[in-house]
């Protein structure tokens, strides 16, 4: 099958129109993951054994089951219990919850990198537990975690084609439809690949740059 430039140009606008929903799902999902990941990381450090164990168990469970299965569950199984959401909402929740477990590990690494002396100084100054977290520990734990979180953002972006399985009209879904209409698959799927590349590669460069800047700042502060 030969590559047709005419056809390529014809389908490009349609694919580009699907891009915003792909990006929106990624960003919204990431926001959910970032917000949910932090309390998961903090709960794992709870002094109550049951709380930290339960959190650990939940994190392991979600991480060890495929995202696609979780998406199907949210989209097809939850409505049986009266919870029926749009494909977009399902996608955001699915991506967000799944990736929150990864991000919680990233946060955890950042938290554990904070010296024990910082916790002790906070006790000596009589900060409450909450003040210790939000004034002393997290401001030190999160900045070093940001580049790693950026990598997860890109990884998540590349997983959005899974959302086509729950009928969200994102890039891959559009490409599939186009292909089935014209029986030309080469151009749509190549374009999908290129669009992903065009977004994720510059982003990864950006993250690398942020990482370098951060390292410089940390070396002057410590």
């Amino acid at each position: 099958m030969l590559w047709s430039w005419d056809y390529t140009l014809k389908i490009l606008p349609g694919l580009l129109r699907a891009l915003p929903i792909t990006i929106a799902a990624t960003l919204a999902g990431f926001a959910v993951a970032a917000v949910l990941g932090l309390p998961l990381a903090m709960l794992r450090r709870s002094k109550y054994k049951t709380v930290s164990l339960a959190t650990r168990w939940a994190v392991d469970f979600i991480r060890s089951t495929p995202l696609l299965v979780q998406l199907f569950f949210i989209f097809y199984a939850l409505p049986l219990y009266g919870i029926s959401l749009s494909p977009f909402a399902c996608g955001v929740i699915g991506l967000g919850v799944h990736y929150s477990t990864y991000l919680s590990e990233v946060y955890r690494a950042g938290i554990e990198a904070v010296e024990r002396g910082q916790w002790e100084a906070a006790v000596a100054l009589n900060f409450t537990r909450a003040q210790t977290w939000f004034r002393v520990i997290l401001p030190q734990a999160i900045p070093p975690a940001i580049p790693v979180m950026g990598n997860y953002l890109i990884a998540m972006f590349k997983e959005t084609p899974l959302l086509s399985a729950i009928t969200l009209v994102e890039l891959l879904q559009v490409a599939k439809t186009l292909g089935s209409q014209s029986f030309r698959y080469m151009e749509p799927f190549t374009l999908v690949g290129l669009l992903f590349l065009a977004l994720s590669y510059p982003s990864s460069l950006l993250i690398r740059k942020a990482e370098k800047r951060l390292n410089r700042r940390q070396s002057t502060r410590r």
């Binding site: 100084a121 000596a124 100054l125 900060f127 401001p139 410590r222």
Partner: protein, 281 residues
Amino acid sequence: MGLHMQEKTARPEEAPVPSPIVRYRGVRKSYGELEVLKSIDLDIAPGEKVAVIGPSGSGKTTLARLLMTLEEPTGGTIEVDGELLWHKEVNGRLVRADEKHRHRVRGKIGMVFQHFNLFPHMTILRNVTEAPIHVLKVPPEQAREEAMRMLDKVGLADKADSYPSQLSGGQKQRVAIARALVMHPKVMLFDEVTSALDPELVGEVLKVIRDIAAEGEMAMLLITHEMDFARDVADRVLFTDGGRIVEEGPPDRLFENPRSPRLQSFLSRFRAGSSGGGAGD
């Protein structure tokens, strides 16, 4: 153990023995099989300066960490200003107190650490104002004024806008002292505060502590390897070894006439090795 060593207490006018600001009763601490403290009884009078010397691993740092609630005693009780620190009395029985209770009692204790533990993400000024503003609820403007006064006292007012990484070890430790002082504790713990410093920086930190000690009103527990310093500053010196207070007394007596063989050998070892300025371990 001797609780009447008040000869050099800062306030001789306070008639008989004032009730202690800190009282350890039968305090024990062990980690699994290892017993670090074996039944410590110790009273510290308000304003009294108590130095603790002893070999590494003798339990002297643990003594301070239990009082700061960084570690929980395995047995016994600690009272601060007449209130139990780790326990509460419920129907005549002692039960473990909750964090809320410890939070309240611990407000009377301050601590300066061996490794400074300044907050690296805050300026020097914010290091000193953060706790007064958020813990003591001092108005920010007032907290800044007091912090600047305190930084001036430790000779670092010009560093207010720097970050800890831009300071030398001696400067960091002086900031840490200022940070602890603005909380106005009744008892201040100094845990080997010069041990992590280059020898040429030890003097500036000790001078600051001497100045504070001279002001008198705050009790101090000084865990130290600096014998001359202990002798100058302390009203009373404790020698710990093997998890016990082996000997205690006024500094002159203790250093001139050590009674126990273990203190004698500790001091002689120390004198032999003190030219290097290091710790006796």
